[in-house]
């Protein structure tokens, strides 16, 4: 028998790694929902909460100091755009009245800072600094000023996790800018970068989408409002069995550089305009039908 095997330290060094590895493997095979819940509980009820708060303060400090010039430039551009938007808004309201549509509903949102982590899978999910206490809910869309980023997957007090489009489980319904072709946006195994590439799958084989065409969210599925920019077509990725075309997209929002997000609130008062319009139209049609049926 080797010297020292009977020592308590030697025995511990033999069984403790095996137990830890066994528990880690068991955690890997937990259902995803339980894994997300455990992660959220750890962020809420362990010393990690203080460390997340510390990182949030550091990010806020950096943002306020380093991005002041950029934010000022963006604000100036926004003011210019807003001047024209007033006129368009009143014009739009008049046209909607003429068509018998209700007012376009505004979508409230919560802003959150992205708290970067060190694991190579950071990017498939993003930790953000707003949690349940600020009205963040699961499945709220997460947008950058440039376009779609993902949706909220779990929430905890003080933090939330956003599942980005780069996550293997992410899907979003999308449409070409002219509204002609619908499809699904998802991630596909990346070829040369640190993140997988974004692809747009469409079942319409006879139509071709030109390079550079903008792809927007369609509003179907009830998570993303319609019209959020997703990406621009960069070329044909592959054709599948002569009935499906898969296009490679350049995302409008870069996951590697995005540093703050808008989390759209999906309350009943904030139903995306397209869905609200459909519901309003349907109610009107039903009323007309009822009136016609009356003797």
């Amino acid at each position: 028998m080797p010297i020292g095997v009977d020592r308590p330290e030697a025995r511990r060094d033999a069984w403790l790694p095996l137990v830890c590895i066994g528990l880690a493997v068991a955690a890997l095979f937990l259902p995803a929902r339980i894994g997300y819940d455990v992660a959220a509980a750890l962020r809420a009820w362990s010393p990690l909460r203080a460390l997340i708060w510390l990182q949030e303060q550091a990010v806020l400090g950096r943002t306020s100091a380093g991005r002041f010039a950029v934010v000022t430039a963006q604000r100036d551009s926004a003011i210019l755009a807003a001047r024209r938007a007033d006129q368009l808004d009143s014009e739009n309201r008049r046209l909607r009245l003429l068509l018998g549509l209700g007012d376009r509903l505004a979508t409230p949102f919560v802003t959150a800072e992205v708290l970067r982590q060190e694991l190579p899978t950071d990017g498939r999910t993003l930790l953000v600094s707003a949690g349940g206490e600020r009205g963040v809910r699961i499945f709220q869309p997460a947008l950058a000023p440039e376009g779609m980023v993902g949706m909220v997957r779990t929430i905890a007090p003080g933090s939330a996790v956003v599942m980005t489009w780069a996550h293997p489980e992410f899907r979003a319904s999308a449409v070409t800018e002219d509204g002609r072709l619908f499809g699904i946006v998802a991630a596909s195994g990346g070829r040369d970068g640190t993140l997988p590439e974004m692809v747009f799958r469409t079942a319409s084989y006879r139509d071709t989408i030109p390079q550079g065409a903008l792809i927007l969210t369609s509003g179907l599925g009830g998570v993303f409002p319609s019209g959020v920019p997703v990406g621009r077509v960069a070329g044909l990725a592959r054709e599948q069995k002569t009935w499906e075309r898969v296009y490679r997209l350049v995302p409008t929002a870069n996951l590697g550089t995005v540093d703050h997000l808008l989390l759209l609130q999906r309350d009943s008062a904030a139903v995306p305009a397209a869905i609200a319009d459909s519901a309003f139209r349907r109610r009107q049609e039903e009323q007309v039908r009822e009136e016609d049926d009356e003797p």
Binding site: E9, R12, D13, W15, L16, P17, C20, I21, L23, A24, V25, A26, A27, L28, F29, L30, I34, G35, Y36, V38, A39, A40, L42, R43, S46, L48, L51, I52, L54, Q55, A58, V59, R62, G66, L115, R116, Q117, E118, L119, P120, T121, D122, R124, T125, L127, V161, A166, H167, P168, A187, G189, G190, R191, D192, G193, T194, P196, T257, V258, D259
Partner: protein, 167 residues
């Protein structure tokens, strides 16, 4: 020439770990922002320096706890960070006692390789994407910067981490 050091007290080890935690969660986001591949991983450094100078049991347990924290912060696939850190902690504690000398260059290589091995296991366990691309593009500068920072920390705080060095 061997630089002799006294064994670190628990207080010094705790103080060093708290310092590295502050560097990780306070200084790193302020200095590097979204350029995370050029930011040293202070949390991994704290854990590796601890594991390298403890037994496989303590190394595995430290890895388990750090992995749990990483999985809570990046739950792309819960358990991937847990498994990666536990394995790296066990290998670091066991490998250091079996193979490695107290040499500064070897320590730097060991820290860089530890980060790369961690990233490799996380990517393999997470699935659903390219493994080689991230390891070669973002992983390489990340490992280099972390190894250089770790070497500097070892030189500055070798007494706190009970590190003996052959210069």
């Amino acid at each position: 020439m061997r630089m002799r050091v006294e064994r670190a007290s628990t207080g010094q080890m705790v103080l060093a770990s708290v310092l590295l935690l502050l560097l990780h969660f306070w200084v790193r986001p302020r200095l590097f922002g979204t350029d995370s591949q050029w930011a040293p991983d202070f949390l991994l450094l704290a854990f590796l320096l601890f594991a390298m100078h403890s037994g496989p049991g303590a190394g595995a347990l430290a890895g388990f706890l750090v992995g749990l924290a990483e999985d809570a912060l990046v739950p792309a696939r819960f358990g991937a960070g847990l498994l990666a850190h536990t394995l790296v902690g066990t290998v670091a504690a066991w490998g250091r006692s079996v193979f490695f000398t107290d040499n500064l260059l070897v320590t730097a290589l060991f820290l860089g390789a530890g980060l790369w091995l961690r990233d490799l296991i996380v990517l393999l366990a997470s699935g659903g994407g390219d493994v080689l691309g991230p390891l070669l593009t973002a992983g390489a500068p990340h490992a280099l910067v972390t190894a250089l920072t770790g070497t500097l920390l070892v030189l500055l705080f070798r007494q706190w981490f009970s590190v003996r060095l052959d210069l």
